[in-house]
């Protein structure tokens, strides 16, 4: 209620919703037995069990080897650049070499055990986004940003980053190149598995942003022709360690 006694917009809307839902709606016309059985079992209003949905979605890989293969295949199709290295030392050398070859003048990073060694080994100027006050103008001037990740999804080729563990929101989206460090044990099969991880890992204390990154930024708005690097990073470099 508002102070003058008239119902608030909130109360009006919720009231309308309750009134509207007094009449039940029929279930959608379904084609599969599994979904019909699931719906019927709850006698009307049910939550769809996750295992009803997941078997019908694209494959996520049964074994770690399959998942790795699927992930790299999907990333390649997405035009992400994939590099496989044995350990952090090799990753450090790789990224330093790439930065030199491509003439990166300034690289942004955040304080994370997987990222710090890579950043400190660079010979060019670096910008740590989580040291002191955030400087968006300085970040805008960076050629590349290096982040860790929370998971990599084989099913879709997606990389999950969070504002909590991956250097905030802008680091993985503003620089022209996004370098993300993934260790093989972070690979999960499906989007559903990644969301389970979110739920279990962040229970009660969600980071303010979680983002599934599926390839470099792109648009098809001009004559439906694919162009990479619309606003987000034009290049996505995935460093797989392990």
């Amino acid at each position: 209620m508002t102070t003058n006694g008239l119902p608030s917009a909130r109360d009006t809307i919720l009231g309308r919703i309750r009134e509207a839902l007094r009449l039940p709606a029929a279930l959608p016309h379904m084609r599969s037995h599994a979904a019909e059985a699931a719906a019927a079992s709850g006698a009307g209003l049910t939550i769809l069990p996750a295992d009803v949905a997941r078997p019908w979605l694209p494959d996520g890989g049964e074994t770690p080897a399959e998942r790795l293969a699927l992930l790299t295949d999907n990333l390649a199709k997405l035009r992400a650049e994939v590099h496989r290295v044995a350990d952090a030392k090799a990753a450090t050398a790789l990224v330093a070499g790439i930065a030199r070859d491509r003439g990166w003048r300034k690289v942004a990073w955040h304080d994370h055990p997987a990222v710090e060694p890579l950043a400190t080994a660079l010979s060019c100027e670096t910008q740590q986004v989580d040291a002191g006050a955030f400087d968006k103008n300085a970040l805008e001037a960076c050629d590349a940003g290096i982040t860790a990740c929370e998971a990599a999804v084989a099913q879709t080729g997606s990389i999950l980053v969070s504002s909590g563990s991956c250097g905030g929101r802008a680091l993985s989206i503003l620089p022209h190149v996004h370098v993300v460090v993934v260790s093989l044990d972070q690979i999960v099969a499906t989007l559903g598995d990644a969301l389970d991880l979110v739920r279990s890992h962040h229970a009660g204390r969600l980071p303010s942003m979680l983002s599934f990154i599926t390839g470099p930024s792109r648009t098809g708005d001009i004559e439906r022709i694919l162009v990479l690097g619309a606003h987000g990073p034009k290049e996505l470099l995935v460093i797989l360690i392990g």
Binding site: S32, A35, L45, L48, P58, P207, H231
Partner: protein, 479 residues
């Protein structure tokens, strides 16, 4: 300086005036558009690539039809428990530090947002794609209040410069050729001509970068509102929504109340299907969950996050159990992509925010059945839309339902008389046979006289001569 943007309402039809105005305009625009064969061919060509990619992605699903079942059940469960789930979402979002504002109407939503802009002393506003903001005509209102608004999505940006609303709610400028875009950028941004889509995109990218960094308010939509966790989910390819919600000090999101899903699991189905049906992709580039403003310990992000929840007649659709499933719509645009009407009349002919089949279903509810029912009539009911819908909305049957509702509430007297006459004849076989005989014997004359409906047929199509005998007469001769 805001790039040339419309101050006039892009949808000038006013319900208070001639109620048939919308229909007259539709018929006029449709006739004009079908004559533009090069435009139609261009759009058809653009969609050709979509069909191929979509089919490739569908084939990756172990069972696409069962996945559709799962997706439709996920939305059905959410919409039919909105009374429970919407408050749950709001409580969780507020616990995350977000602020919720409730808007019963488009006017209220605009006022709330303008109020927020004033309260935070906004100077520069950047927007990412939000069809709900089109629905409430937000941009025009913001401009009137003196705020420079820039649409950051490339397609929306192009449409903003052209002074046009979006042509399609997923591909806003699918009707625009690259040379037209080059001229547009030359005129508004002073850039040299180019026929490379890549270079044109880079022009927009460079132009936007300063705007993201300098904006103090970012306005986004939301594809889903997750009740379990109090997060809003935004799906995009370009990264402009991510930037809009990363750098400005204040994030304002606008979403219809029907966007609720029960839990995160639902996104495991809905996100891939939205991408597959909408754009022929396995997933779009960025699918982002925002729980609220930046958390202590996070190095960047907005200090404030506001979510404006909009009703604007959605509760009226909710109250109609027959058509309630039209609220399941995830705005993928698949129905537009397969609709022969859309392909032949184009996105602007509809004259309203939501085009295509789903738009034709909901617009009469959002803007009045009497004024907008012609959108439900302008369909051959082929059903391609219903087949394409990832959440199994009974789209083409709802067009029939709208027609029935209109016939009941605002019948066309002459038309109803005609149908009653036909029914009278069809209830009496002897009369029906006699009528058939009259028809067979006078068709030649009717073709000469060209009464109204026949005239419309004969303008572009021939009619065969009447058969010499009726089927029942032929059958009698057999035995």
């Amino acid at each position: 300086m805001t790039p040339g943007s419309p101050t006039a309402d892009p949808h000038p039809v006013h319900e208070a005036e001639d109620p048939h105005l919308a229909k007259k305009k539709f018929l006029h625009d449709a006739a004009e558009h079908v004559r533009d064969t090069s435009h139609r061919a261009f759009v058809r060509k653009a969609l050709g690539g979509y069909y191929t990619s979509r089919d490739t992605q569908k084939a990756r699903y172990r069972d696409w039809e069962q996945a559709r079942d799962a997706a439709s059940l996920a939305k059905w469960s959410a919409v039919n428990r909105l009374d429970e789930l919407l408050p749950r979402f709001v409580a969780a979002f507020e616990a995350n530090g977000g602020k919720v504002h409730w808007a019963r109407t488009a006017d209220e939503a605009r006022d709330i947002i303008l109020g927020l802009l004033r309260a935070v002393k906004a100077k520069a506003v950047i927007k990412s794609k939000c069809m709900t903001s089109e629905e409430i005509h937000l941009n025009a209102a913001m401009e009137q209040d003196g705020y420079g608004v820039v649409e950051s999505d490339l397609g929306e940006f192009i449409q903003q410069l052209r002074g046009e609303p979006p042509y399609h709610f997923v591909f806003p400028c699918m009707h625009v050729r690259r040379d037209e875009i080059s001229d547009l950028f030359g005129k508004h941004l002073g850039t040299p001509p180019t026929d490379s889509p890549e270079e044109l995109t880079m022009i927009a990218r460079r132009h936007m970068r300063r705007l993201y960094v300098d904006a103090d308010v970012g306005i986004t939509g939301a594809n889903f509102l997750v009740a379990e966790t109090g997060q809003i989910s935004i799906t995009e390819n370009e990264g402009n929504a991510r930037l809009t919600a990363a750098l400005p000090r204040v994030h304002i999101a606008l979403a219809g109340i029907e966007k609720v899903v029960a839990n995160l699991d639902d996104l495991a189905v809905l996100l891939p299907m939205l991408a597959t049906a909408g754009a022929g992709q396995p997933m779009t580039c960025y699918n982002t969950l925002y729980a609220g403003p930046r958390r202590p310990g996070e190095c960047d992000g907005p200090e404030e996050m506001h979510l404006v929840l909009l009703d604007n007649s959605r509760t009226a659709i909710l109250a109609d159990p027959e058509q309630r499933d039209s609220l399941h719509c995830i705005r993928c645009g698949a129905c537009l992509n397969v609709c022969p009407i859309f392909k032949n009349v184009g996105g602007f002919t509809y004259g309203t925010t939501y085009q295509g089949p789903i738009g034709s279903v909901i617009t009469p509810h959002l803007r009045g059945l009497a004024d907008w029912n012609h959108l439900s009539g302008a369909s051959s009911l082929c059903g391609a839309c219903t087949d394409a819908c990832p959440v199994r909305i009974d789209i083409h049957h709802h067009l029939l339902h709208n027609r029935r509702n209109a016939a009941r509430s605002t019948p066309n007297r002459l038309e109803r008389l005609g149908h009653r006459l036909f029914v009278t004849v069809a209830s009496r076989p002897w009369l029906y046979a006699a009528g058939g005989a009259v028809f067979r014997n006078t068709l030649w004359l009717m073709k000469k006289l060209r009464p109204p409906l026949l005239r419309d047929w004969l303008a572009t199509r021939d009619l065969p001569p009447a058969p010499p005998r009726s089927f029942r007469s032929e059958w009698r001769s057999r035995s």
